[in-house]
Symmetry: C2
Subunit: 165 residues, 2 copies
């Protein structure tokens, strides 16, 4: 059973994992910078995370994730990436908005939904009925404000030709 963590604590784990990936270990100062927080806030949070068994924390030393923390951090990162990919490649949201929105949504989505979403993205780019050019059509449809004079018959003819070739 996955313990409930606040959005705030999930964010700490996420950036610690990212810092570990870049620098092997995380330092309080870098965490503060990445999360736009003061160092004092970071110290308290780290103690809290250590007490809950997510990080290895020794005063004045560097910080690493425990196995439990790593698992959880990877899970959050996975959610972030899946959501961002959906926003970017399917809904065609701009990079910055996608990143910011993913940062918020990652804490609100549950395991079942994220799995379905990931699978859906997959399906879209594997199913010949969908794919890149289908997304292009969506983009036009969306830009036109829905109504649009879409030539559906022609689109399907072209699809068949493409699938054959």
């Amino acid at each position: 059973m996955k313990q409930k963590l606040s959005e705030s604590l999930e964010n700490y784990l996420e950036v610690i994992l990212a810092l570990e990936k870049t620098n092997k270990v995380a330092r309080a100062k870098e965490i503060a910078e990445k999360l736009n927080l003061q160092q004092g806030s970071v110290t308290s949070a780290l103690k809290n995370l250590a007490a809950k068994g997510y990080v290895n924390y020794k005063p004045y030393s560097f910080i690493t994730l425990t196995d439990k923390g790593k698992k959880r951090a990877k899970d959050i990162t996975y959610r972030h990436l899946a959501i961002k990919e959906f926003l970017l490649k399917v809904l065609r949201i701009d990079e910055q908005t996608a990143e910011e929105t993913a940062c918020r949504m990652e804490h609100a989505i549950d395991a079942e939904t994220i799995d379905h979403l990931a699978c859906f993205i997959n399906f879209i780019f594997r199913c010949p009925r969908a794919g890149e050019n289908w997304i292009q059509s969506f983009k036009s449809y969306c830009a036109a404000g829905n109504p649009g004079k879409n030539n559906c018959k022609q689109c399907i003819d072209e699809l068949k030709t493409t699938a054959k070739g």
Copy 2:
């Protein structure tokens, strides 16, 4: 420019709108019940919302939304419904999970993204290349754990036939 409201305050507005729809006005007790909070918490929140101009609040009396509050409440409700529809009809998440997840995600999604999402749902059920039977294929694909031996050529042939008929 839309003022930032906490998740908590957005929830109040959302249920007040729902109660207004059913009962013309909202009462503190009903709000407390719908949000699973104590009445004392509701009183404070209402004062806060009144101070910010979202609700009409008079001690011991019923509660209604101001125009500003109604606008905001409708916006939140719209986000809720769009997300739920996506989870339910596209990702095929079960009713309860969809409802709960929508309740959380509605606070995390921005205007641009929700518009694209709504448009995307629309597009899926209007584009002949997608639609109900395409979602069915996704469901199988997803259930099979992605790999699947999908007969794509046959699927496209059938699509063409259907589009003609």
